[in-house]
Amino acid sequence: MFSFQNMTQEIHSWLSSLMSETFVMLVEMTIVGILAIALFAFLGLVLVYMERKVAAVIQLRKGPNRVGPFGIFQTSADTLKLVLKEGFMPDNVDKFLYKLAPFVVMITAMLILAPIPFAKGVQIWDINIGVFYLTAISSISVIGILMAGWASNNKYSLLGAMRSGAQIVSYELSAGMAVLSIVVLTGSLNLGDIIASQEDGWWIFKGHIPAWIAFIIYIIAVTAETNRAPFDMAEAESELTGGFHTEYAGMRFALFFLAEYINIFIVCAIGAILFFGGWMPFHIGSWTAFNHVMDFIPSFMWFFGKTFFLIFLIMWFRWTFPRLRVDQLLNLEWKYLLPISIFNLLLMTLVAIKGWHF
């Protein structure tokens, strides 16, 4: 069967025959870096296009339909426009931080790509504390947002950044709790192990009600963490005109924009890995024949299919719900999500200890 593992191994052995080990590593790192950036740009284009189409159909519109068939090149054209735009910087901004902020947000988003297994055997960095790494790195992006808000020297930006800070710090907790409950079930922080543990069924089906609750909490918390509506406090265009990126234009704004979508992809990918088995095909316990049929669908299609389903869910939220107020946002976290997720974690631990899951 077709496998990415063989391909990467062949490339590795071919390179090893050409040069010394250090150079092989350098070349491989470069290739991986280029691939990551390419994936980044491609995902950005696809997700923005997807968002616009989903929004359009929900809102009884057609959406982009002029550039290319069904407007598929619309986002490329937009990117071109943003690249060509003047990199405008207002007076009285803190120039260093103003320029640095988009890159902080962007690099954070890129770093999280490392431990994600995109398909069977396609993983940039197979780290044994993968889940821990993800939760640790994903909280750095708030620094970029705070930086942007502060450096812009704009009151709206500052308010937006402060809101975002409060929001991300709070919602990290319940997202972490939801992630932990799966870690409790598998007993491993390694993403590869977590996927492998779902070979006989995904955790959302195996883990009973606690897994469902964890999933719902996870999806709410990550919607908030990525600053998406209905939790887009940091931008809140009808309140703060644009929030932390009010003063940004051109490519710098595009980086924020891109990072937002990459973040959505990443959190959905993690969600897919934890609850829906990542690239693991749909398997049911001991139905060997059925499982074999499912194995014929390539693993990367399973991964991207699940991820895009979750992305669609988050988009669906955005185009349905009104925005929460900032104090209600924190209420929701501290009065509802956090207590529930703590109890859910206890419940999950009980399930794991007693072996009540399938």
């Binding site: 989903v54 519109r61 057609k62 339909n65 669906w316 349905t320």
Partner: protein, 160 residues
């Protein structure tokens, strides 16, 4: 304690229920793209039919003999609230050797017009009317000042 938990969970479930009902509606529209109401304007120009009373601009009707019904009474000019219409009159000698007032130019400033229809109401001979044409954009605003009577046109016989 129990009652607190009960209200707490009822609240949570009702909240989720209300959110799901909203998602049901947007989900319905997402899965039923036939509800899309977009009109692709420049593409549907061939089939686009404006309402017959639509006020797009003032025109002067001319028949096939290049004759109009405007006597130059300037009732429309007086009725106009913005000074959109300017009538320049001339005196023609007709067949019986009588001097007769006729219009030289019916100047219409489209850029000032608010399409209030007062000039059409005021016109005693129904010489002018509103046309449903709404595509007025031009590259030079001077082009918006129009002369409504055609070149070489004259007043229709019998219109006083």
């Amino acid at each position: 304690m129990i009652s607190f938990l009960k209200t707490y969970f009822t609240e949570v479930f009702q909240a989720i229920k209300s959110l799901l009902s909203g998602m049901k509606l947007t989900g319905y529209y997402f899965t039923h793209p036939k509800n899309i109401i977009t009109e692709e304007y420049p593409d549907n120009r061939a089939t686009l039919k404006m309402a017959d009373r639509f006020r797009g601009e003032v025109i002067m009707t001319h028949d096939e003999k290049n004759e109009h019904a405007c006597t130059g009474c300037s009732a429309c000019e007086l009725a106009c609230p913005n000074g959109t219409i300017k009538i320049i009159n001339k005196f023609e000698i007709n067949a019986e050797g009588k001097k007769k007032k006729a219009i030289d130019a019916f100047v219409y400033h489209l850029e000032l017009c608010t399409m209030c229809n007062l000039c059409i109401v005021a016109c005693p001979t129904d010489a002018i009317k509103m046309s449903p044409n709404f595509e007025h954009s031009v590259y030079d605003r001077r082009l918006l000042t129009k002369q409504l009577n055609h070149e070489g046109s004259k007043i229709r016989e019998g219109v006083e």
